[in-house]
């Protein structure tokens, strides 16, 4: 297929994959956002498919500090381990931490935000005060303290990052619920005797999704960066290398082996940039009100 002009995306509707393509068409992708989406898909496929074909991440080789070559695409590290193989496993690790932490944040945020926005009154005030506190608390420093105190294993890192990300999602959910709960169709559902749960889940939540999808994208990118920062400080899970942990290992060999630092960092940069560009585009398409206000 050709991507000569932006209308070709809508033109895909004639192919057998019409459901998928009409979904894509509604995204109204332009040059940068299409590139970002393709990049994200490529990274996700890479992280899912490639690692099993590569050797164990911790198997050591004879030649340490070998520069990138055909046998070692990204060179080897101080212990002679293949950097490419660690990079691929790192992709898996960084992405799963990012996605799972974002999911945790979203579940907590949506539930609490929905409660606050739907119930209003004292519940709302208390919940939003707590959210405000969590927003002021320096996430990075708290995560660092918690992981240093409780130990660094993957589950714990995911939960900590997720627990620190919820206020943003809660704030957005609450705002949507506050405005949507007064709409005619919600009032109609209430007058028709629908249960509160039905109103929340089948009337309000689906309509609150667009800004929440944007928030989720942003949560994933900030979770990946946060995990990288923590792992860089040596707080990552040492048995499962992530991109951040690789950068931690690279720090002491910057003089001898630049490749140990360049590739994992590029991985983070490209992933997070693609998420940000795509998220910005989603903000424009799904959420014109927020345009220019920043997410």
């Amino acid at each position: 297929m050709s991507v000569k002009n932006t209308d070709t995306v809508t033109g895909l509707g004639k192919t057998p994959f019409s459901a998928l393509s009409s979904g894509l068409a509604s995204l109204r992708l332009d040059g940068p956002s299409l590139m970002a989406l393709l990049t994200l898909v490529a990274i996700a496929v890479f992280a899912l498919v490639v690692p099993p074909f590569l050797g164990d991440v911790n198997s050591m080789g004879a030649d340490s500090f070998a520069p990138p070559s055909l046998s070692h695409l990204m060179g080897t590290d101080d212990l002679g381990r293949d950097v490419f193989s660690r990079f691929a496993h790192g992709a898996r690790m960084s992405l799963s931490v990012g996605v799972l932490a974002a999911l945790t944040a979203c579940i907590i945020g949506i539930v609490l935000g929905a409660i606050a926005g739907y119930m209003k009154g004292a519940v709302d005030v208390v919940l939003m005060r707590i959210a405000e506190l969590f927003q002021v608390i320096p996430r990075f420093f708290l995560a660092l303290l918690v992981i240093a105190l409780f130990g660094a294993n993957v589950v714990f890192i995911i939960l900590t990052i997720g627990l620190l990300g919820w206020p943003e999602v809660a704030r957005i959910t609450r705002g949507e619920f506050l405005s949507l709960r007064e709409r005619e169709y919600v009032l109609a559902a209430r007058a028709g005797g629908q249960s509160t749960r039905a109103i929340i889940f089948s009337e309000i939540l689906p309509n609150a999704m667009p800004p929440l999808i944007v928030a989720m994208t942003m949560q994933v990118s900030s979770a990946i960066l946060l995990e990288a920062g923590l792992s860089f400080l040596g707080l990552g899970d040492a048995s499962n290398p992530s991109w951040g942990l690789m950068l931690n290992e690279a720090q002491q060999f910057l003089t001898t082996a630049w490749w140990m630092a360049v590739f994992p960092g590029l991985g983070i940069l490209v992933t997070v940039a693609a998420l940000n560009v795509f998220g910005d585009h989603l903000t424009d398409v799904l959420n014109p009100r927020l345009r220019g206000a920043g997410g």
């Binding site: 506190l133 608390i137 660092l144 105190l149 630092a261 360049v262 960092g265 997070v272 940039a273 206000a293």
Partner: protein, 343 residues
């Protein structure tokens, strides 16, 4: 101020101004009051962490050091571990409000003193790069505000995406490899040369040379934030009615830009407040790469020696710093833009 278009009814003007001022004062008062629960919240989080962490508080606090029996007794008495939990909490809360952040058994010093000694270096790094790159970012945004989709706009937007997405510490590593190790333009580490003891102007030059790379690395993020928001709010300001009015009155384009600038750039102060925690985290990590002797380095050492009192003290200190920063920003904002108090 350019809000005069809004309240231009002459007889009510004096009264209006007084009311505005009262409203601003009330707003500031409320903001200061609302910062107090935040402070208590942060201290509470810290207290809870020590008590739910695995191991007993004494072992956590003394870490892997071998304290004397006297020190353990003193700590036991200070924490009041024999007293009920609410008394311990109460006493902890007050000790923090008195400025006591605890004692580092690893470093054998008060946490407050350890932190205070590192503030100048971190402040120098952050402020230098903050000032320079805010000017660059906002300047670039003003430059492109009138010409969307120009080459400068694309360059700025591209830099902004990078600045938002790049982990500061990785950018620091790359800058170090390229400019310090290979090109040898800049020193690799520290704040001053260890081989020469420079004095006077040469000393200042030496420090600036060491400052350059870390400040630029950190600055990428300021550039990104400022460009993004200044661009959006300048464009918004330029589409407002008062700009059309000004243009109809025949004001020069330069004057119009200045007019929009005053209203368009103000929101950026708030944006800085929202981003200050990320920026500080970036600064801390950048310091570690460049061996800059600030808070980041201190934190790194504290992590590796499992110096929990120091880590907790830094968490409380940084939180208080951020709460105060946001408070100051709110106050500055309300003085510049009296409409804020109305909300």
């Amino acid at each position: 101020m350019s809000t005069d278009i809004v309240n231009s009814a002459p007889p009510a003007e004096e009264k209006g101004k007084l009311a505005d001022r009262l409203r601003t004062i009330r707003f500031i008062g409320l903001k200061i009051l609302s910062a107090i629960p935040m402070l208590i919240g942060v201290i509470t989080v810290n207290f809870i962490l020590v008590h739910i962490a695995p191991g007993d508080p004494i072992t956590i606090l003394v870490g892997e050091t071998a304290p004397t029996e006297e020190q353990v007794q003193a700590l036991y008495a200070k924490l009041g571990l024999d007293k009920p939990l609410y008394v311990q909490y109460w006493e902890y809360l007050f000790s923090v409000f008195r400025g006591d952040l605890g004692y580092s058994y690893v470093m054998q010093a008060d946490v407050v003193d350890l932190i205070a000694a590192r503030i100048p270096a971190t402040a120098m790094l952050m402020l230098t790069s903050l000032i320079i790159f805010t000017v660059v970012g906002v300047g670039l945004a003003v430059l492109v505000a009138r010409r969307p989709r120009s080459i400068f706009d694309s360059i700025g937007s591209f830099l902004a995406v990078i600045g938002y997405s790049v982990p500061a510490f990785w950018l620091a590593q790359i800058a170090l490899v390229v400019f310090a190790l290979n090109l040898r333009w800049f020193p690799t580490s520290g704040m001053t040369s260890s081989r020469h003891a420079y004095e006077g102007l040469a000393y200042v030059g030496d420090v600036l040379l060491h400052l350059f790379l870390p400040a630029c690395v950190l600055g990428m993020r300021y550039l990104a934030i400022n460009f993004r928001y200044a661009r959006a709010s300048m464009r918004d300001a330029l589409s407002q009615d008062y700009i059309t009015t000004a243009r109809a009155k025949g004001l020069s384009e330069g004057r119009i830009l200045l007019h929009a600038f005053r209203n368009g750039v103000l929101p950026i102060i708030t944006v800085f407040g929202l981003n200050v925690t990320d920026i500080l985290a970036g600064a801390v990590l950048t310091e570690i790469v460049f061996g800059w002797p600030g808070l980041g380095r201190l934190m790194y050492d504290a992590m590796y020696s499992r110096d929990y009192p120091l880590l907790m003290g830094m968490f409380v200190f940084v939180s208080i710093g951020i709460i105060i920063t946001n408070l100051v920003i709110d106050i500055v904002y309300s003085i510049f833009d009296p409409r804020v108090g109305l909300k």
